[in-house]
Symmetry: C2
Subunit: 358 residues, 2 copies
């Protein structure tokens, strides 16, 4: 979308995104400065003349790699004057109330004075949900990296190794394939730790019979992937197999439901209904999926807590799980690009058979 | 510090930290839930009864690993009631205006109604600057990981390799030593790319005569280290040597100045004065250092832009650099624990001679 269209749709004369200490990812959304630079303390300003980046000399070289007008300030006073000048003619200023701290908002009001401030948080979220070609390509690349890595992980799994050692290998293999960062702190959970959905990794050593749950993703040019696979080290017990194939069934059911126009809420409800109809009643303690993009939890996805009519070109995760505290858990997660008449699965690591690592 | 002392010093009856989508690291500061869990959407509430964590069932197991009272909500309505109840008797509510979005603030006001809200952003920053024993220990461990990795990196450097391949090795070696994440996206810059202080890494291939600049850190139990070393691949030219030893001299001068009571501003001024007295006048385009802790840029450190009287138990980076656009740059960075009468250097990777990798 071009600058004018953003302003029209949000009904404002200018949009200001401040990339403060807690980084507002929308800075990257509007500037598309995806290929280098940190831009702490920088501003992205959308006016009818286009997108302007107000940044420090430190970021000058990085900023000039994009297609925006680059304005350099040498100190705080100059920064304030430049921002003021850039939106001189604007009356209605769109801000992201969901990414701007109270402190930074007060600072902006001090600089700009008497303007009409409009919260465009929801509007930006709507825009960000629909991925354009560049975004689709970057997420697909991030998903490719994660898929390749998931597929080779069983080769690195050895008895007695620690969770964080496998996390090290995960990171290495992702970076080697061009990831610029982890999408998030990898979860590598052995045995009973796999029952804790938000476990990270520790020094638990791998034993025969353990579940090995890996949940990780690659960040590629600021866009993320997010994948989970669960293996068994050694021979799987019947209950482990039941857990795995129940989750797989639930996941495939959910993926098959996905297409434009479907309510994400219905998907989560159906997944839970299915799991609750098995011996694993009430063992799925989170939603089926979330939106994915610049943020790993980009927007609401598939959750019974909220309506979310899926639209073409959204990306959502599908990740049912079953957790038995003290014993273990299974989760299988893929990233889905929503198409008009179905799901395009971006992550393609093997999952159809429970892998027993010998 | 205990809960009562925080409330006294901030002159409030309760402190509420909301760990929203953009994570407010103060959640970890108050709860010390450093050993697992994500806690998105969770609240930390400090009252005279202690610290309470209000979180979802998804985080229950992780939350119970700490020393706080854990309160579980099953849905949004319950969450609101629980927060309300927890601070029922409080009149003055301390909030972090520097970490709370406008949206979340409005939400809190909707829940709690007519209270007196006090911005304790600066207060928290003051507290966080002074590291207690646990924090010191964790940063020291993070620094140890980074130092070990910096020292072995020359062994992995080969002609023709790409920057991101070296970044992969950096990550692997840090995770293998127990880092749970990168402190930040590693900078691996070859040749002319080293002149860009905030470059990340790309597919530039290593050639004879290139600078190799690596700037990276480990996150260990949520605390960070941050180190930079610069090598030359092949034989260094005279100008490369001059750049290196000028930076080293500036860095050692800065480190020698550090102790309780010194103004960080003076340190930065002296470093710039020194560099400007050499052939590299005006080639240092950033401040000498920043505070380090839960955040990589934790607080103001050594910058001529602002007074900062150093106190015992602060951690600051010292990282002068010289950059020649199109040619290359040198930066040397270490993490310093401020002691009463000097600097304790936490990162100990070799630096006294410019390493020429053959």
């Amino acid at each position: 979308m071009n600058a004018k269209r953003y302003l029209e749709e949000a009904d404002v004369d200018a949009i200001i995104i401040y990339n403060g200490q807690s980084i507002d990812l929308n800075f990257y959304y509007f500037t598309r400065l995806l290929y280098g630079g940190i831009f702490e303390g920088s501003f992205a300003v959308v006016t009818d003349e286009g997108v302007k980046v107000i940044t420090s000399p430190l970021e000058e070289q990085s900023a000039k790699k994009g297609n925006n007008e680059v304005i350099i300030y040498r100190n705080k006073v100059e920064r304030e004057e430049l921002i003021k000048k850039t939106i001189e003619k604007a009356e209605r200023i769109g801000l992201n109330y969901g990414g701007l701290t109270i402190k930074d908002f007060e600072n902006i009001k001090d600089i700009l004075g008497n303007k009409v401030y409009v919260d465009i948080y929801e509007k930006i979220l709507q825009w960000r949900m629909i991925k354009d070609e560049e975004e689709y390509r970057l997420i697909k690349e991030a998903a490719k990296i994660a898929s390749e890595v998931a597929d080779i992980m069983p080769d690195f799994i050895r008895e007695g190794m620690k969770e964080y050692e496998l996390a090290a290998r995960l990171a290495y293999e992702m970076f080697k394939r061009g990831a610029e960062d982890l999408a998030f702190t990898s979860i590598v959970a052995f045995g009973e730790n796999s029952a804790e959905p938000h476990y990270i990794s520790g020094s638990r050593k791998l034993k025969k019979g353990d579940f090995v749950l890996i949940d990780f993703g690659a960040k590629y040019k600021h866009y993320n992937s997010d994948i989970t696979r669960t293996f068994v080290f050694g021979r799987a017990t019947q209950i482990q197999k039941d857990m795995y194939y129940t989750v797989l069934e639930a996941q495939e059911m959910a993926i098959n439901m996905i297409k434009e126009g479907v309510n994400g809420k219905e998907v989560d409800i159906r997944v839970k209904e299915y799991i609750n109809s098995t011996q694993f009643k009430d063992r799925m303690i989170h939603s089926t999926g979330h939106g994915l993009g610049l943020a790993v939890h980009d927007h609401i996805g598939l959750t019974s807590l909220k309506d979310m009519i899926l639209k073409e070109r959204m990306v959502v995760t599908v990740e049912p799980g079953i957790y038995i505290p003290g014993k273990g858990g299974v989760r299988i997660e893929d990233d889905i690009f929503v198409r008009k008449d179905g799901a395009e699965i971006l992550t393609y690591a093997k999952k159809s058979e429970l892998i027993e690592i010998s």
